[in-house]
Amino acid sequence: MAREDTPLDQEVFDRVLKEQTDAGTDKRVAEGRARSAAVRAYKAAHPEESEAAAPAAAAAGDGDGQAAAQAPAAAAPAAAAPAGAAAAVVAAPASAPTRTAPLPTGNIPTPKKGAPDKHRLLALVPPEGIQRVEREQGDRVNVWPHLLIEEFVAMFVLSAGLVIFATFVNAPLRELANPNLTPNPSKAPWYFLGLQELLRYFHPVVAGISIPTFILIGLAAVPFVDRNPSTRPGDRKIAITMFTLLFMFGATLTIIGSFFRGPGYNWIWPWAQGVFFEL
């Protein structure tokens, strides 16, 4: 139903508008408040009309808007409600399943004159056709302040530790690079020492190419190989065991390469012959 067609109490409208304007309210806001007060006053004065308004609006929605708007209250026979409902259902596809939800009643906007009829079907999607997205609310907390404070604390602890460490421990800087003088032992950076250790046992193609490639592809493939949907540790004994073994294997090789290998990359005991390891 168009706004202009809503019956309202003109006297109340003028009075409230003047009150609001005098109080310094913005013009548009004042008009809105006056209108709502006037409509409420009109409805209070004509209770029988507001009862009929709902079916009248439904009728306005499904067909000749102009006619319905012109005669909102005049007769408004009780039969208007079923009639309007029937018209609405006809507009829906014939195969539509029986709908249990109540039909929309009042305040369906009147289509503009000459608007294509099809548009009105948009309002008649059966409930089954609506995708309902529901997310479990769960037990959630605000990121600010709970998580962010935790992150700030972690950040400051790490920064403080690093600053203290960097103040007292200098990064190594040896003599100028000399391609003709190989240091003994010469070691890769610590994160490659596991691979360097493997070089002692395997052909370089295996230790330097095959195994790193296998690790890279194997790691990336983990989610596509492990199809077990559970995240509970009790359900993932094989996966956890395998990962732990491989991780420990890598860590052991790295530690051996770092601390248990000395001149000539031969085995040493770090507490006896000293540590040949630089970061």
Partner: protein
């Protein structure tokens, strides 16, 4: 008549009502006048800050537990920021030149240690931070495995994480060469000698990566560019996808 000067808190209040202040701090900022500790302002505080809004407004309560994440991913990111800042500082004092007879790179390293204000300290931060980042990224991967956080719908983010781990190793390894001392050149020689065994492309691989047959001045320049520009650029791209996917895949995984 004596005019009473405004108290500091009044000055603060007036400042926080100015248009300029309000244009900088979006609604919900704790720096805005009238911040209230309500659910609404807490939500606005997260979503109206460019850094905080990497996070959702709310997270599952178990995500706060220190023993679930150990903050490892966040700390790795923080270390990346720290390394970027300290790295930019070091770039002002370093030239990647190692010509025979006058290795400018090594000379610059020495002057950073002795002549540059706070140079030694910043270099220490950069080096120890880099080792720590390799460590924390590796541990982060282990954490993600043990919590099963790579399971659907997070498979792709795990793959991105593996790429990030290898980019981290690449950044650390390329940076290892830059001091141009005996430690650097020989560690890199040992590390890259393995590439010489790759099937079919060994020679091409060496020439592309080292700019020659052995580690030399060309290698230094190449690895410098990789270290300060190329790899960080790629890493930031993958990092963006990584963070974005965390939220798209439903936030923190779990609970167990």
């Amino acid at each position: 008549m004596r005019v009473k000067p405004p108290s500091p808190s009044e000055v603060g209040d007036r400042l926080r009502e100015t248009e300029v202040w309000k244009s900088i701090f979006r609604p919900g900022s704790i720096f805005r006048k009238g911040y209230k500790d309500t659910s609404r302002d807490r939500a606005l505080a997260t979503m109206n800050n460019v850094l905080y809004h990497l996070h959702p407004v709310k997270l599952k309560r178990h995500g706060l537990k220190l023993t679930y994440t150990f903050c490892l991913g966040g700390l790795s990111f923080f270390l990346f920021i720290l390394l970027t800042v300290t790295g930019i500082f070091l770039m002002f004092f370093y030239r990647p030149m190692a010509d025979i007879g006058g290795a400018q790179a090594y000379a610059d390293m020495q002057s950073i240690r002795t002549g540059v204000f706070f140079g030694d300290f910043v270099r220490n931060l950069h080096r120890w931070g880099a080792h720590l980042m390799v460590f924390s990224v590796t541990l982060h991967m282990a954490r993600v495995f043990y919590t099963g956080a790579y399971k659907p719908p997070r498979e792709y983010n795990w793959v991105v994480g593996v790429i990030l781990l290898f980019l981290t190793l690449g950044l650390s390894f390329t940076g290892y060469l830059l001091p141009w001392d005996q430690l650097a050149i020989w560690a890199v020689t040992v590390g890259t000698s393995l590439a010489g065994y790759s099937p079919f492309v060994a020679k091409q691989f060496n020439i592309i990566l080292l700019g020659g047959v052995v580690v030399g001045p060309e290698t230094l320049l190449r690895w410098y560019v990789l270290h300060v520009l190329a790899l960080p650029f790629v890493l930031v791209l993958f990092l963006s996808v990584h963070f974005w996917r965390i939220r798209k895949d439903g936030g923190i995984s779990g609970p167990l």
